[in-house]
């Protein structure tokens, strides 16, 4: 429907063109949601629990309400009793009878200044009676303390298996793992742990809400999913969704942490109560206690191999810690299973992904949900196996990777499989032949695969009488450059230049639906929708030209911004003018949806994402040195070989790789939200350690282009994969450098020193 109609000409798509919104950003004119203001607006702040699990005995806001300048104080008692959530509808706007985690919202305040709002927070008297709590997800499975005693009454997706604190349990089963273990040459069993990681966007969550005279609300906010936010708001406000308008002025990073409702509902509820516009901006402390970070996880992995290291079977269990609300935990637990299977011929599989409630921050969908945790386990264990069998780790992988036409874990036929090329290129670039160049220095490698998230996208494309085209899309430009990429695809298909494309703002009222800037899908899906619109516009242009010349459309070409038929030519601009006079203008609606590949449902149970669309393949390799006395890791070189299908804009694809690796390095070495007795100990950027410019090495990006069938010009999703491999690659390199194997993230200097000391004793 789209990819076949056009082939990349190389004129626009494929070039390193500067992004369309760059100038505004470098001169400080680009407006982010955190910059957005309205005249007369009030300032909202949220009162959050300082206890992890407690019964709310009473809330007395009378002192707060009496402060001059305070215009509203609201709690659960003031709003409809709605619970929302994408898998389980367990989350209320404010804590109901109990607070369930440190940072849980108890009340919200709107005042004429931010300072008065803060004073009001301090003046709200809350009496909390602490309750026994559960923080460890494996312990939580015993259901001694129930986070949601009413779990059976909660609405949830029918596919989920739930029981007490277990919010979901997904399985992948293939072949007979018991037989595999019985006949194996060796069986390896290991457990791995990973920590909670904050997405770390530099622009905090921010929303401004304003109601009009007809009871409609507009919210300007930095969400990645404006239509999902619109729906959730409509539920919370008890309105039809058409009465809720979500506009994204600009967004300073998201990484999956700005998918679901953040502060929009507080702004909207306060604005309704006060009949004034209200702005709510998250503080750094709120981001680190009450945002939607990456789940922590525990992975138990048991793998059987034959004498040559060929995989015979894998049994795995991943326990994903959802925190107090399920959030995207169920989806994450499900997707982790495909990552555990890896880009490998496993022989047989028995994988289980469990999502569990605890009394901690509800987690979300930070970049490649479950990817790094599952990959850390699988790829660490591959190296352990290689080491034990005396096989080179690269060779072990090459013996087991999938090839074109193999079946994936869901029984789907894998196409455009490039994992061998990625592995070999990464290995060559890092100098794999010399894996231990010096004492304390070693190289590690890790590989994976990942999906291009499906979901539909629509665009309108108008051609204007000045020869430009306007692209109206509901997809938010997060910073990845995906909209520039989609525009390059559009320009290429219409024989225009990138500078001829104008992109309209994202507004649920006027933009066509888009499934959202998530899951590495934006350039892919919006690009495809653009190709569909371009195909329609091309036909409209040909038909109009044919009318002008009184000929048929056969043999017509679209080239150099003109329609050409033999020795006749007419500009697109002129055709647009003509169309306005007589035909209402040139406009097309393009849509795209990737039908998922065929798969075998018999292999899966209760799995939210049973088969992956247009998967990509990738490998990363690292050369690092470890100071064995201090435990400090210094990365000498980092290489990524990633199959992107078709590089629509290599500069911004490299940007995704470099940024994703940087986040992965943070997860590997320094980042964790630390809880002690249910309280966050490092809710500030002093002690939540994201990599600085001195912590990230130069990164070599090798773009492998193994074209997909479904992507625009063969492209595959790009954004998430780069953050998947660093923990495993780094763990493998640390083991290579020192002999020390670490099983928990982050692999801090202190842990490395401890492990080295234990190994010596």
């Amino acid at each position: 429907m789209n990819a076949e109609a056009f082939r990349a000409t190389g004129r626009v798509a494929g070039k390193r063109l500067p992004r369309m919104d760059g100038v505004g950003k470098v001169v400080g004119k680009h407006v982010y949601a955190a910059d957005f203001t309205l005249p007369g607006m009030l300032y909202g702040r949220i009162l959050r629990s300082k206890k992890p699990h407690a019964r709310i005995v009473k809330i007395d806001a009378s002192r707060a309400k009496a402060i001059p300048g305070v215009r509203a104080v609201i709690t659960a008692a003031d709003i409809p009793a709605v619970r929302y959530g994408q898998a389980v509808r367990d989350a209320p706007v404010f804590a109901l009878d109990r607070v369930l985690f440190y940072g849980h919202a108890i009340a919200a305040v709107a005042a004429t200044t931010l300072e008065i709002a803060e004073q009001a927070l301090a003046a709200i008297d809350v009496e909390l009676e602490e309750l026994p709590a559960v923080y460890d997800p494996e312990e939580a499975l015993a259901n001694a303390v129930l986070v949601h005693p009413d779990w059976q009454d909660l609405k949830a997706l029918p596919i989920l298996v739930r029981d007490g604190n277990m919010a979901a349990c997904a399985k992948i089963k293939s072949g007979d793992v018991d037989a595999a273990f019985a006949k194996a040459y060796r069986v390896y069993e290991h457990s791995f742990k990973t920590a909670i990681q904050h997405p770390g966007y530099t622009e905090p969550r921010a929303s401004v809400a304003d109601w009009d005279a007809n009871g409609n609300v507009t919210v300007w906010t930095n969400t990645q999913l404006p239509f999902d936010t619109q729906n959730t708001l409509a539920e919370i406000l008890d309105l039809p969704s058409a009465r809720v308008r979500v506009i994204v002025p600009g967004i300073g990073g998201g990484f999956g942490g700005k998918l679901r409702i953040g502060v929009e509902h507080y702004a909207a509820l306060l604005a309704r109560k006060t009949a004034r516009p209200v702005r709510v901006l998250s503080t750094s402390e709120e981001e680190l206690t009450a945002a939607t970070p990456r789940q922590s996880a525990v992975v138990h992995l048991k793998t059987a191999v034959d004498r040559e290291g060929k995989l015979l079977g894998r049994q795995g269990r991943i326990i994903v810690d959802c925190g107090a609300f399920a959030g995207s935990g169920p989806g994450t637990a499900a997707v982790s299973l495909q990552v555990l299977a890896g880009p490998y011929r496993n022989g047989s599989l028995a994988l289980e992904g469990v999502a569990v409630y605890t009394n901690k921050v509800p987690a979300g969908s930070f970049r490649a949900p479950a990817g790094p945790m599952a990959n850390f386990a699988v790829e660490s264990q591959m190296d352990i196996i290689a080491d034990d069998l005396g096989i080179d780790p690269l060779e072990l992988r090459l013996r087991n990777i999938v090839h074109e036409g193999d079946l994936g874990p869901s029984g789907e036929v894998l196409k455009a499989v490039s994992i061998e090329e990625c592995l070999r290129k990464a290995a060559e670039a890092i100098g794999w032949h010399d894996r231990k160049p010096a004492p304390g220095r070693g190289k590690g490698i890790a590989c994976s695969w990942w999906m291009t998230t499906g979901g539909s996208s629509g665009v309108y494309v108008k051609i204007n009488p000045d020869g430009t085209a306007t692209l109206v899309s509901g997809a938010v430009e997060l910073g990845t450059g995906a909209i520039t990429g989609a525009s390059q695809v559009l320009a290429d298909a219409l024989s225009l230049d990138l500078s001829d494309i104008n992109v309209a703002g994202v507004d649920t009222q006027t933009s066509p639906f888009d499934y959202g800037a998530q899951g590495s899908r934006t350039a892919f899906s919006v690009g495809n929708a653009c190709l569909a619109a371009a195909a329609d516009l091309r036909q409209q242009l040909f038909d109009l030209a044919a009318q002008q010349w009184n000929i048929g459309t056969e043999g017509m070409e679209l080239r150099d911004k003109q329609v050409i038929a033999g020795n006749k030519a007419i500009t697109i601009a002129e055709l647009a003018r003509i169309s306005r006079l007589s035909g209402g203008g040139l406009i097309a609606h393009g849509t795209a949806i990737s039908p998922p590949p065929a798969y075998d449902p018999g292999k899966l149970e209760n799995h939210l994402l049973p088969v992956w669309n247009t998967p990509s393949f990738h490998a990363q390799a690292v050369d690092l040195s470890v100071d064995s006395e201090t435990g400090t890791v210094s990365i000498n070189r980092y290489v990524v070989a990633q199959d992107v299908g078709f590089a629509i804009n290599p500069t911004y694809i490299e940007g995704q790789i470099e940024g994703g690796v940087s986040q992965g390095i943070g997860q590997a070495l320094s980042e964790e939200i630390v809880y002690q007795d249910g309280r966050v100990m490092n809710a500030n950027l002093t002690d939540y350690k994201m990599p600085t410019a001195l912590d990230v090495p130069e990164i070599t990006c090798i773009l492998v282009q193994c074209a997909s069938a479904a992507g625009p010009f063969g492209a595959k999703g790009v954004g998430e994969p780069p953050c998947i491999h660093p923990p495993a690659a780094i763990a493998n390199a640390i083991a290579s450098a020192t002999g020390a194997r670490l099983y928990s993230l982050p692999m801090t200097a202190e842990k490395i020193v401890k492990e080295l000391r234990t190994a010596r004793e």
């Binding site: 494929g14 919104d21 001169v27 770390g200 530099t202 622009e203 500030n684 600085t692 410019a693």
Partner: protein, 171 residues
């Protein structure tokens, strides 16, 4: 609360306003004057998005009391180039692909400018650039192309060229 009259010199222009004594320069820039180019995030000098120049030196405006900034030359991102006439740093950031979400970019550009101005005529190594920008966090880019851009700008400042086209290299 008693507001005092402050006169701040920002990008060469004088601004007179009434400010509470405890307001920081960041609060005054964004809240009172409405100059949104300087960004807010951690509010404790840990992220650098609020960076402005004080007499040409990069400082975190989130911890500088507005009253203390009186009598100094304040430069914000709005005081650098304009679209028709970008500063070499701004042009290089675009050309080298160093801008993604862009929220750290005003602070990052001013941090870089402070460093390059401090060392006129000097083309720093990549490691020196990384040291110079270590106080400004970027979550999107992984820093590589930011280092490219600052390196490019250092060269451009020497030669007087400004890179306006995107850097084409073999893909």
């Amino acid at each position: 609360m008693s507001r005092k009259l402050l006169e701040l010199t920002i990008n060469g222009e004088k601004h007179q306003l009434l400010a509470e004594p405890h307001w920081t320069l960041l609060q005054v820039l964004r809240g009172q004057i409405g100059m949104m180019g300087t960004k807010e995030n951690c509010l404790e000098a840990e992220c650098g998005v609020c960076t402005v120049l004080l007499d040409g030196h990069a400082v975190n405006s989130c911890l500088l009391l507005a009253g203390q900034a009186e009598g100094h030359e304040i430069t914000t991102i709005e005081g650098l180039g304009q679209p028709e006439n970008l500063d070499p740093l701004q042009a290089a950031f675009i050309a080298c692909g160093a801008v993604q979400c862009g929220y750290c970019i005003p602070g990052m550009i001013l941090t870089a400018k402070s460093y390059l101005d401090e060392n006129p005529g000097y083309v720093p190594s990549r490691q020196e650039i990384r040291e110079a920008i270590a106080g400004t966090l970027c979550r999107c880019t992984g820093y590589s192309k930011i280092v490219d851009a600052i390196s490019q700008a250092a060269q451009d400042r020497l030669t007087g060229n400004t890179l306006t086209e995107s850097k084409e290299t073999a893909a």
